[in-house]
Symmetry: C2
Subunit: 289 residues, 2 copies
């Protein structure tokens, strides 16, 4: 890869530029707001200009709802040979891309997993280092586009995870979208507690609810775009919670005559599930609060 | 306070001993396992011996199910003028204490909020510094006992929070017990995800599920002891989750014709609830994983 066009000079776009610059890739920064592109150039993320000839890849990092029209526009301009984006929900995006009549052979839609936290984070060359980065090629995707996207991910220091769009959206409902809502609902319950109750909060509660600090508008957009899979997760989750609650009520009524079978199972399966996402040391230092 | 007897030389007992020794309080360490008491003495937590005359306070730090009989035994021995314990559920404890025929005037049941995490942590003199410590006096509690318990908490560096037993148990169901189960259920769901799904896990999921690493046996004991209030919390929570899930299904069916009113509300209330437990810098450094 020699050159990349980055469309959208925000946190992700600017970080992609910085990451690629480490490897000497020539990067071009394009933004509807020319000032944003110039600011990214000042950070060293690339040149604030349309590439003079088609770049190897264009990385569309505009907000999710704008990806399809912006992609169509740049395919028409011939900005690059291949295209990818970074939006978090893929089934809806593929529908929108079809509606816009985009070329599908040159597209591999992608989604880096980064932890942005609540505050306004700075673009960083190492934002993607060691992180997963989903790629969702379709039956129409050409080999050139797929290999170009794989190279982009590798140059950004991330690890490619290939899935189809439906599997991707179910996966992020499981590992990100539903857990975010679970955290929000747990945090919302604190509004019903009196002051002395809330003063007894410890680290466990702070961990469970931390992600609920995330921007509500941004999360509402993500969750509605992936509404079906998130609803499935929440409903399954609620059924499990109610089954444990039922057993706890039996225990409360009967003293210790009822054995906490479901409860013990939930706690043990929780330990086992948690073992699947064993934390790397680096994750801790990058949490923002 | 000149002297304290610590009954149970585990993490909490040993840390109480270390905290009190900072202030020159003479501490006596008593444990069914004499080796545990001697090990705590070797750490500097006090003298591995029954106090020669009644101590100002006895701090019962044995496992929850043993508190009432151990309290009765030490009240009979005259180990101290006042008594407290550190068990996490208070309504059941007060029932057990009544059944054992304990003296209630000299008792203030307590519960420090500490974050022990998953690993085997070391006793520390500063384990309680700046932390809340619930105290649940009853109508029978004498002033001497209450003031002695307040002084214990202050000398341990913690902040007393006074509540009655029912309010305490509802409070910890809200801020600790139900959130723990919520985290366990969220972590358990990962067992149903395939490998590429789990690889997309990020920091949000790791935060939400971190507390689920906790010891299942210990948590099953805590949660069954507080079964009624925890069931109330879980049920209310499940109803909220189902309401959001219903709206998400309507959105999935209708495209964007349905506005995400409940979803936005849940996300915004989550931000507001989270603001009630604003994190102190120290909390971050003490999380274990």
């Amino acid at each position: 890869m020699r050159s990349a066009a980055i469309v959208g000079a925000g946190l992700i776009g600017c970080s992609v530029g910085l990451a690629l610059r480490r490897h000497g890739v020539t990067t071009y920064l394009i933004d509807a707001d020319p000032e944003a592109a110039r600011a990214a150039e000042a950070r060293g993320a690339g040149l604030a200009a349309q590439p003079p000839r088609p770049a190897d890849i264009a990385v569309i990092t505009v907000p999710p709802g704008q990806v399809a029209p912006v992609l169509a526009e740049h395919q028409k301009l011939g900005t690059a040979h291949c295209y990818t984006d970074v939006s978090g929900v893929k089934v809806r995006l593929h529908q929108e891309v079809l509606e816009q009549g985009c070329d599908l052979t040159s597209l591999v839609s992608g989604a880096p997993v980064v932890d942005i936290g609540a505050g306004p984070p700075e673009p960083r060359a190492d934002l993607f280092d060691g992180r997963p980065w989903a790629l969702t090629p379709t039956d129409f995707t050409g080999n050139l586009a797929l290999n170009c996207a794989l190279e982009l991910v590798a140059l950004c220091g991330a690890v490619s995870v290939l899935l189809d769009a439906e599997a991707h959206d179910r996966a992020v409902a499981l590992v990100s979208h539903a857990p975010h809502l679970i955290a929000s609902l747990a945090a919302a319950r604190l509004l019903g507690g009196d002051e002395s109750a809330v003063r007894l909060a410890g680290q466990g509660l702070r961990d469970v609810t931390r992600t609920a600090d995330g921007n509500p508008e941004r999360w509402a957009e993500i969750l509605t775009a992936n509404a079906g899979p998130v609803a499935d997760q929440l409903d399954d989750w609620a059924v499990q919670a109610q089954a444990v609650a039922r057993e706890l009520r039996d225990i409360a009524r009967s003293g210790d005559a009822v054995r906490p079978v479901r409860l013990r199972e939930a706690l043990s399966l929780g330990v086992a599930g948690r073992a699947r996402i064993r934390e790397r040391p680096r994750d801790r230092s990058t949490t923002t609060d």
